[in-house]
């Protein structure tokens, strides 16, 4: 069954047992039309393949309203089926945030609506 672990980290990990062999799971993940049929589309923009190693691993850049997240699918044979590990990393820019002095924003009240960054 599916499990999840994330702790205090910035990634979600799901471990999934599938009855289908790795090649078939690979097709369901790597073929855009099949993938969209079960995974859908990102909140914003389009998914983009960052790395692919058939039939083992596919990395997908998945835009969200908070920035680009990264989904990694890792497929390995297990019994007659497959073990699939899905790791979904929260957006984080690799580049160091440039320090730009700016006027200190007024601390928003807890009930105030939070800003969302436009994509």
């Amino acid at each position: 069954m599916s499990g999840t672990r994330d702790g205090a980290d910035d990634a979600l990990v799901f471990e999934v047992e599938l009855e289908a062999p790795p090649e078939k799971v690979w097709r369901a993940i790597a073929t855009p039309e099949i993938r969209e049929a079960w995974l859908g589309e990102p909140e914003t923009g389009a998914a983009e393949i960052a790395a692919a190693e058939a039939p083992k691993r596919l990395d997908l850049v998945w835009p969200t309203r908070d920035g680009e997240s990264l989904i990694s699918f890792e497929i390995s044979p297990a019994g007659g089926g497959s073990h699939l590990t899905i790791t979904h990393r929260a957006p984080q820019e690799a580049t160091v945030l440039a320090f730009k002095p700016r006027p200190a924003p007024a601390k928003p009240a807890a009930a105030a609506p939070r800003w969302r960054m436009a994509a």
Partner: protein, 104 residues
């Protein structure tokens, strides 16, 4: 504050280390620097970025400034994780169903 700033601010490993050091409680810049191989101005710069992202708050006491974690600051990340923790189980069920329908 832009939510994206939280993600960006924690994306840098050193800055993250500075932030994690504050989970032990309030610290001065000097205390934060102990054990890290970065200069004091660099620590100050990371603290400024963390402050700008709403992750850290400061308190002045005479000539010293103390920093502490702003607990509300992580809520964009927590919200994000919550959103996608709810997203995946339904997608995984759909994947299983599609695998059952696909040709070998």
């Amino acid at each position: 504050m832009f939510e994206a700033d939280v993600f960006r601010a924690l994306g840098d490993p050193t800055r993250r280390a500075v932030y994690e050091r504050l989970t032990g409680g309030e610290r001065s810049v000097t205390e934060l620097r102990e054990g890290l191989t970065i200069s004091q101005p660099a620590v100050s710069q990371h603290l400024a970025a963390l402050k700008a992202a709403g992750l850290v708050a400061e308190r002045r006491d005479g000539r010293k400034t103390y920093y502490r974690i702003e607990p509300e600051g992580l809520s964009p990340l927590i919200d994000w994780l919550g959103r996608y923790r709810a997203f995946w189980p339904t997608r995984i069920e759909r994947l299983k169903r599609i695998l059952g329908e696909m040709d070998q």
